[in-house]
Symmetry: C2
DNA sequence: ACCTGAACACCGTTCAAGT
DNA sequence: ACCTGAACACCGTTCAAGT
């Protein structure tokens, strides 16, 4: 058992988060528990409550790290693309790729529901919003003259759609399973949606 | 405590499912437990294991009932519409309406993940598939000449998209909260997607 | 035959007591 | 000051024992 002053609070926090990541990656949210994390880092459960308010806060921090990884992947996908449509396709493919490569980490972001009425903290919402902004940037030229709000709404619409396909595919609720087929669906959604924007139908 | 022969196995099953529905409606999947269900119906936990294999099987049956309710709602939405596009919009609105009216029941369908490698039983998948078929029927005239498989894939693409919007909205992960705004997004997705189909872009 | 009640191996969370 | 370890109120699941 680790004793006093072996590690600073910051170090324990880091050790706990990284142990949690390991456990989630292997067994998903179901396989995560305060006791298992504590055991993994050589402390007792009580210690976790000295550095985290509760298990939900710990999970939020793991999710924040996952969001950072995801954002990096999506950002990387936008560097070598030219037209808006192909950029959006590239972001979509990066999203599918991430979800299928890190299914448990990715799913936990959405499985972890905050207590009723509790809002996610500002820093967390920022991490989510900048993901939508990547899509907004690409939609801008396609929606020239439209308000910022309208563009943001369009990005949400499209991206929630892409997310829905991933979510049902990764949880085996669709009858497609490999990344290839999921990509066919997300490509199709993006292509049709973008074509629909081009057709400029009134909504 | 209920004693022998007070109820048949079928009656206990029905009582348990209906107690579970009540608990889920109020407190969501988190608030559901075998012990609470048993207490609600006046039996001990052990009895539940005489009529259900485990809690997962019980939850699957509650979900099956929710799927039946949902299917009825979607079906009802298709009776008084004329064009494919307006029919799909109507089904989408019925879906949003159901998800926002019965958030816990609706969410549990997707929160409940089967054990790894275990497939949902045939009767369950049928209930899911007939929902997609409602959309396929409406897409058919828009995709005249396309293969059944292609039409099925298009229905999945669109409906997963609609689902994604609902899912993120109902779990407060979007910054829209009332059914009105969700509907704006799903309407937009459907309208753009259908317009994209009409534009007949190659995918 | 039907159901109980206690047991087992787990949870998250708290906090008096030890070093 | 830092961390433990035991307690509390919960889980799902099993099964010998009671009626």
């Amino acid at each position: 058992m680790a004793r006093r002053s072996d590690h600073t609070k910051e170090q324990i926090k880091e050790m706990a988060l990284s142990a949690a990541e390991k456990l989630v990656t292997r067994d998903g949210l179901q396989g995560l528990s305060a006791r298992k994390i504590a055991h993994e880092i050589g402390y007792t459960v009580g210690t976790l409550y000295l550095v985290f308010e509760n298990i939900d806060e710990l999970i939020s921090h793991v999710n924040a790290r996952t969001l950072d990884m995801l954002y990096e992947s999506l950002l990387a996908a936008t560097v070598s693309c030219r037209q808006p449509r192909t950029c959006i396709l590239a972001i979509g493919r990066a999203y599918v790729e991430f979800a299928t490569r890190h299914p448990h980490r990715w799913k936990m972001i959405f499985e972890h529901n905050l207590a009723k009425g509790v809002e996610a903290p500002q820093w967390y919402r920022m991490k989510v919003n900048r993901m939508f902004e990547l899509v907004e940037q690409q939609l801008q030229p396609l929606l020239a003259g439209q308000s910022r709000k309208k563009i943001a709404q369009t990005a949400k619409t499209l991206w929630c759609g892409v997310h829905g396909i991933c979510a049902l595919a990764v949880t085996n609720k669709l009858e497609v399973d490999d990344a290839q087929s999921i990509q066919t669906l997300t490509d199709s959604l993006i292509n049709h949606f973008v074509a629909g924007i081009a057709a400029d139908i009134p909504v």
